[in-house]
């Protein structure tokens, strides 16, 4: 398996994680309430929305985009093409910046940490690292 394939597998896991957090945000799973700490506090904060939509929903869109591009660049018609590499670098670079901002908000503004958000932030860092490896490998060819 090459790094694009690993990116696709992790991104697919991310889609499900983000979908779970979106359902949580809308109250379909878990119990969203004050007085319980952690994820509940983060999900109830003003940082849980971005341009009117839950951050988790943006996350699901981000992971789905990364998954789509990496699958195309692994087994699809673009498997030997160069273009998925810069696209994945750009998507995951943006992901790292946005996750970094959200983690900063959790630590300094909301004063609560959500384990699922931390897990997602770590996944994004790994995705970015793999995109860099993919970029280096393609450039060396």
């Amino acid at each position: 398996m090459n790094s694009r394939m690993v990116v696709a597998v992790i991104a697919l896991g991310g889609v499900f994680l983000a979908a779970y957090l979106t359902l949580y945000h809308y109250g379909y799973v878990g119990s969203l309430a004050c007085g319980t700490g952690g994820c509940e506090v983060v999900q109830a904060s003003s940082y849980a929305k971005f341009i009117g939509l839950p951050v988790a929903l943006w996350g699901a869109g981000y992971y789905a985009s990364v998954f789509f591009v990496s699958v195309l660049g692994s087994v699809g018609p673009a498997a030997d093409k160069r273009w998925p590499t810069p696209v994945l670098l750009a998507l995951n670079g943006w992901g790292v910046l946005f996750s970094g901002y959200l983690t900063w908000a959790e630590v300094t503004r909301i004063n609560a940490l959500c384990r699922y958000c931390i897990a997602s932030a770590l996944m994004v860092v790994v995705l970015f690292g793999l995109s860099v490896l993919d970029h280096r490998a393609r450039r060396a060819k």
């Binding site: 696709a8 697919l12 896991g13 004050c34 007085g35 109830a44 087994v75």
Partner: protein, 243 residues
């Protein structure tokens, strides 16, 4: 040779994707279908308390719902702004249920007592709902989480928006005469085992957390059915909490 290795790698890749997909869909399906955590029956030995709360709707409605909420809680504000309008329009106005609101200021929200006091002063002028809605709507302008150590200005703005007589409101607010009432409401929540907000008591069931309208309606329908069955058989219905 290279083609064969690549084909093998692709098959393994697709296999792993399918496995992750199956695990992910199963996980989401499981979390959606499992019973909501924290829902529990009201202690059958619990007798109705003396705390008044604030009643909205027909006092004789078959289902009597209690809500324990903290005005400084963003989740309570979300429920009040997103779900409650549907609940009021489709269930309270239709006479299916009434709802009695109880203050439940959490220790983690230092401005919540002031907000409860402001709402109580609004209720004195017959504008409980208008004041409650405004206090939630302007939560960012007075809550401690948004940097307001003193919530007074934001709560005054809410009172003005709610159309209160400001002279009367300020006198009421400053004297803090409703603090005993707020404490009684809080203690009523403690009696019901409330520890988070919002928490609802629907019929004979305690439901913690924000719930979407469809789940709320299901619980109300179940409580209404229980009341109807109990009325038919002459037994006491488990929907009389909050009376």
């Amino acid at each position: 040779m290279a083609k064969s290795v690549r084909k093998q790698s692709n098959s393994r890749f697709v296999g792993i994707l399918v496995a992750v997909g199956v695990i992910g869909v199963s996980f989401l399906g499981y979390t959606l279908s499992r019973p909501r955590q924290g829902i529990r029956p009201v202690d059958p030995n619990l007798v109705a308390g003396t705390a008044e709360g604030y009643l909205v709707g027909n006092p004789d409605a078959p289902v009597k719902v209690m809500e324990f909420a903290d005005y400084e809680c963003p989740v309570c504000a979300q429920w009040a702004q997103v779900t409650e309008p549907d609940v009021k329009e489709r269930l309270v106005k239709a006479g299916v249920m009434s709802i009695r609101y109880f203050d439940f200021p959490l220790d983690s929200h230092p401005n919540s007592w002031s907000a409860s006091n402001a709402v109580a002063c609004g209720a004195d002028q017959g504008k409980f709902e208008a004041m409650k809605d405004q206090v939630y709507a302007l939560q960012d302008q007075w809550s401690f989480a948004t940097g307001h150590r003193d919530p007074t200005d934001g709560l005054m703005a809410a009172a003005k928006n709610a159309g209160l007589d400001m002279a009367l409101f300020e006198t009421c607010y400053d004297t803090q005469k409703h603090y005993p009432r707020i404490k009684a409401n809080l203690l009523e929540g403690v009696r019901f085992g409330v520890s988070q907000t919002p928490t609802f008591v629907i019929g004979g069931t305690v439901v913690p957390g924000r719930i979407p309208y469809d789940q709320f309606k299901q619980l109300v329908d179940s409580a209404a059915a229980a009341v109807a069955a109990a009325t038919k058989s002459g037994a006491k219905a488990p929907g009389k909490s909050g009376e």
